[in-house]
Symmetry: C2
Subunit: 155 residues, 2 copies
Amino acid sequence: MTSGESEFVEEMGQYLAGLGMTPMAGRMWGWLLICDPPEQTAADIAEALNASRGAISGTARLLATSGLIRRGTRRGDRREYFSAPPEALDSLLGSAAAIYHHMRAIAERGLHAIADRPAESKARLQEFYDVMGFVEREVPRVIAQFLRERSEGKA
Amino acid sequence: MTSGESEFVEEMGQYLAGLGMTPMAGRMWGWLLICDPPEQTAADIAEALNASRGAISGTARLLATSGLIRRGTRRGDRREYFSAPPEALDSLLGSAAAIYHHMRAIAERGLHAIADRPAESKARLQEFYDVMGFVEREVPRVIAQFLRERSEGKA
DNA sequence: CGGAAGTTTCAGTCAATGCTGAATAATGAG
DNA sequence: CTCATTATTCAGCATTGACTGAAACTTCCG
């Protein structure tokens, strides 16, 4: 791994860590975006990232569960091969959209909790709820359109 | 604060903490969305959240810097009054959009680091870069449209 | 100017948690 | 079946960082 690649991997790790993931998850995802060959064993990744096998194992489960990486096997080879598949971007954007959904849900419970207040007092939370609802609806629509156009353009 | 309100505040705190903010920031923001009166002193907030004055001070700076709350003063009253202004939603959505921008920037540096590879090897990161660029452009556009429509509807 | 009320700063504490590394389990080869 | 290799689990460590509380600072009033 060159120093530029290392910087990219580390930067991705730090940034995604700030968004609630672990640094290792960010590093692993970043590495899988630029590694060659694109499919890597746990041992490969552990060596590239200077990380323990245990960390790779746990992080791989995390990333695979959220759809960011794919785990593959080959006949006559017990090792697992990890890669960052194209669909990962769908998952990434999908989880971003899920944030809006969750926020709207929280706001909804909050509105319920203050249901007996005058409308004036509920206005702030109501607006928050409305905006989240709008974004939750529209952002995935725009993303889906982009992905559709892109796959058509490729075909 | 009723138990329902308390749940809302705590839930907001936990959720925003998971997104990289502190629990206290989430609680404070949540509280300012539902409190009555809508403007509260540091002492009011500290009491409502069972938090120290120091925590309120630091969190207030954080939230004010990112535009989520407004700090106001009144003549002949040294206390500061905090509130969640309508513009806060713009800031909130803006910082969400900033995430896409930052990710595209990271991807850009990554692409530079592997510039001498064959195109095939750069495809994964290139696609990531493209998608982030698209979202960075389109999502704010959709949001701006919504805010425009909404303010027109209100006027 | 002196003092009261409020705010900010900061050192210290404590809990949370990401990572390591060794032990354990699982899998395929011979 | 047994062995070698790979994957997973988990207890422990170290680090991080959010919060507290007291001290320092600021500002306004008498």
